[in-house]
């Protein structure tokens, strides 16, 4: 009986989605719209500081170089070549620079296909030449071959995370609130159906619908902009499943007591809109103040977008995503436990 009712309820969730034209349009067109607008029009964020990665040199001190980079337009980070390369792939850096070991010069690493990176490299040459005016300085340029340096490659996983988040919060949560207002929850309560079956059906329904969002967003990214994941698509999928389950649990918690759709919308907007802005959906969190960027690591949407990018952009495997899995897992468990405690059927 439990399996039968869970199946029917889950089937119902999917049915509701496909028979609600506004839900379909919202879920399928919104991320695509974002992708088109940002992918074609914005391309690169303008007028921001140039993020320069100084590669630590085991032989020569980088003191002079760092002094030369004290220009206010530069945000400088010092790290190993490997660490910088990973950050570059994510779009957190524009140019990497290294003191040459054997000559009086520098080695630059950047993606010549990125306008921002090319501009940054040019400016960097100018600044260094003018500040270290001791003879001729030789610059050796190297192409960083990561395709993921394109903005669209950064954007697509972010949009996938955002889509999973909004469809849960505004879809699942709102459905519960409306069901409560229309006495349907009360009607279920007078049947032997276990309450957790209703809750679980929402999560399972979301997971099924997630597959559609997954295909649409990644498919559109591939067709329109040639996006492809560096990491395994299965890993992206499994991580999306976890993110969706976590978001659905949060949506259930948000809708656990309210019976008024307008109140729900207001409350959710208050919580979610700021979260969307600081979670690195559209732009790298590297541009946020450090304290804020650290705080956002604990936000579910931030954990989802970071995790998705780690797989899709950096090629990290699913099980290597420690902190992101932990954050989303915690939200899933805590939200479910709280919902079970405070959920109102009428």
């Amino acid at each position: 009986m439990i399996v039968k009712s869970l199946m029917e309820m889950t089937k119902g969730r999917v049915r509701e989605f496909f028979r609600e034209p506004s839900a379909c349009i919202f879920v399928l067109t919104m991320p695509l719209l974002w992708m088109l607008i940002l992918g074609f029009c914005v391309n690169e964020p303008q007028e921001r500081a140039l993020h320069i990665g100084v590669i630590q040199n085991e032989i020569k001190a980088t003191t002079n170089l760092l002094k030369a980079l004290s220009d206010p337009r530069f945000v400088v980070k010092e790290a190993s070549y490997q660490d910088h390369l990973a950050a570059y792939a994510k779009g957190d850096l524009d140019v990497l620079i290294k003191d040459s070991n054997d000559a009086k010069g520098f080695e630059l690493f950047y993606d010549a296909n990125r306008a921002q990176a090319v501009d940054a490299a040019k400016y960097l040459r100018l600044v260094i030449t003018s500040s270290l005016s001791s003879g001729q300085i030789i610059f050796a340029s190297h192409q960083v071959t990561s395709q993921k340096a394109r903005y669209i490659d950064f954007l697509v996983p972010g949009l996938l995370g955002l889509s999973l988040f909004t469809t849960s919060i505004y879809g699942t949560g709102m459905t519960i609130v409306v069901n409560r207002r229309e006495n349907l929850l009360k009607r279920y309560r007078v049947t032997p159906m276990r309450p957790w079956v209703y809750i679980l059906s929402h999560i399972l329904g979301r997971l099924l619908l997630m597959a559609l969002e997954f295909v649409c967003i990644l498919g559109a990214g591939k067709l329109l902009f040639g996006f492809s994941s560096v990491g395994s698509l299965w890993d992206v999928y499994f991580f999306s499943l976890l993110a969706s389950a976590s978001f659905a649990a949060l949506a259930i918690l948000c809708g656990a007591r309210l019976a008024n759709a307008a109140t729900y919308n207001g409350a959710v907007n208050l919580l979610c809109v700021p979260m969307m802005l600081v979670s690195g959906v559209w732009f790298s969190k590297a541009h946020l103040p450090l304290w804020l960027a650290s705080l956002t690591d604990f936000l579910p949407l931030s954990a989802a977008t970071t995790g998705l990018r780690k797989i899709a952009v950096e090629g990290v495997a699913f099980f290597s995503l420690g902190s992101e899995i932990l954050v989303l897992g915690c939200y899933l468990v805590v939200a479910m436990a709280l919902s079970a405690k405070i959920f109102r059927w009428s």
Binding site: M1, K4, S5, M7, E8, M9, G12, R15, E16, R19, E20, E182, N183, L184, K186, R187, Y188, R189, V190, T191, P192, M193, W345, S346
Partner: protein, 315 residues
């Protein structure tokens, strides 16, 4: 009023001194009721009388503050699932999913129960076969209510709780629902029906419980109620000046008059036999009688007598 034990009948629901407060408001006040197998009991009362709260206590949606409730020998506190498997419920103003078809809705509800009637049979039994593929959003109020009833009946429950099943329906749809409820009753189902329609209670119920301000003020079959409360017939008189007071002094049976639109009513068991006496007294007192008539008391009259308020004004 205490529940009279039903002798030689199978009691499926027994409520004893059920009380429920909402803040300081006593929504249900020491209600005692029994429901026999195959019986239809109407809980009649105006809006705000406590019908829905009482019904929700029976359905396990609201728990009583005090008193005891036993349904099919189970109590919600320890056998909630057992009770819910054996009862069927239609709630007041429930919107089922409007984008589901009739058949999908019934299949969904059937899945909640360990066993249920075949959907095809259910559709046939409740005259829903022709509209089985239509979505609920496209149905009339009466058709939607039939689907609600079918969803409550699909698992073949022993008891049906129908909370104002015809509320908001047009007269034709209301009659269709009455026919359906009568059919369910004929199948041997025990039914508790809340309503504020007198005609509905009169037509469908074996017994009627009149609820006012959370309290049962009358309980029994229609005949029993009329007899118990002396409201078989009533004498309505229209008089001028102070004649009414003189008549009341002369005739001890003229007490507890109720003001009506035309004059005054006196509920009497033998009103028709008293007409002559009253007419004669009026002549002796010098006239002033505008009219006098005897009428069969209705359920509404009974309500008026029991609560001192007109039922129609409250609804």
């Amino acid at each position: 009023m205490s529940a009279a034990p039903l002798i030689n009948e199978d009691v499926v629901l027994r409520a004893s001194k059920l009380t429920k407060y909402f803040g300081t408001l006593k929504a249900v006040n020491e209600v005692c009721l029994t429901l026999a197998r195959g019986e239809c009991l109407a809980i009649l009362g105006p809006n705000g009388a406590g019908k829905t709260t009482l019904c929700e206590i029976f359905e396990g949606l609201v728990s009583q503050d005090s008193g005891d409730l036993e349904i099919l020998s189970y109590r919600y506190q320890d056998s909630r699932a057992n009770i819910l498997e054996k009862i069927g419920v239609t709630l007041q103003e429930t919107a089922l999913y409007k984008r589901y078809t009739v058949e999908e809705t019934l299949t969904l509800f059937a899945s909640f129960y360990p066993s249920s009637l075949p959907i095809l049979q259910l559709l046939q039994d409740l005259d829903l076969l022709e509209i089985k593929d239509r979505r609920l959003g496209q149905l009339s109020g009466g058709q939607k209510q039939r689907v609600c009833l079918a969803s409550a009946f699909g698992h073949n429950p022993d008891i049906l709780f129908l909370d104002e099943p015809t509320n908001g329906l047009d007269p034709k749809a209301r009659r269709e629902i009455w026919a359906l409820v009568s059919r369910l009753k004929a199948m041997g189902k025990s039914i508790i029906l809340t309503t504020h329609f007198m005609e509905e209670a009169e037509r469908l119920a074996d017994r009627i419980a009149i609820l006012d301000q959370g309290k049962i003020v009358g309980l029994g079959s229609l005949d029993e109620l009329f007899t118990t409360f002396g409201v078989k017939e009533y004498l309505e008189v229209g008089v001028e000046g102070g004649l009414l007071e003189l008549l009341k002094k002369r005739h001890g049976f003229l007490v507890d008059e109720v003001k009506t639109a035309r004059g005054y009513s006196f509920f009497l068991q033998d009103a028709s036999q008293r007409v002559q006496e009253v007419v004669q007294t009026c002549s002796e007192l010098g006239g002033g009688l505008r009219f006098i008539s005897v009428k069969q008391a209705s359920l509404e009259d009974l309500f008026l007598k029991l609560t001192g308020r007109s039922f129609a004004n409250d609804c």
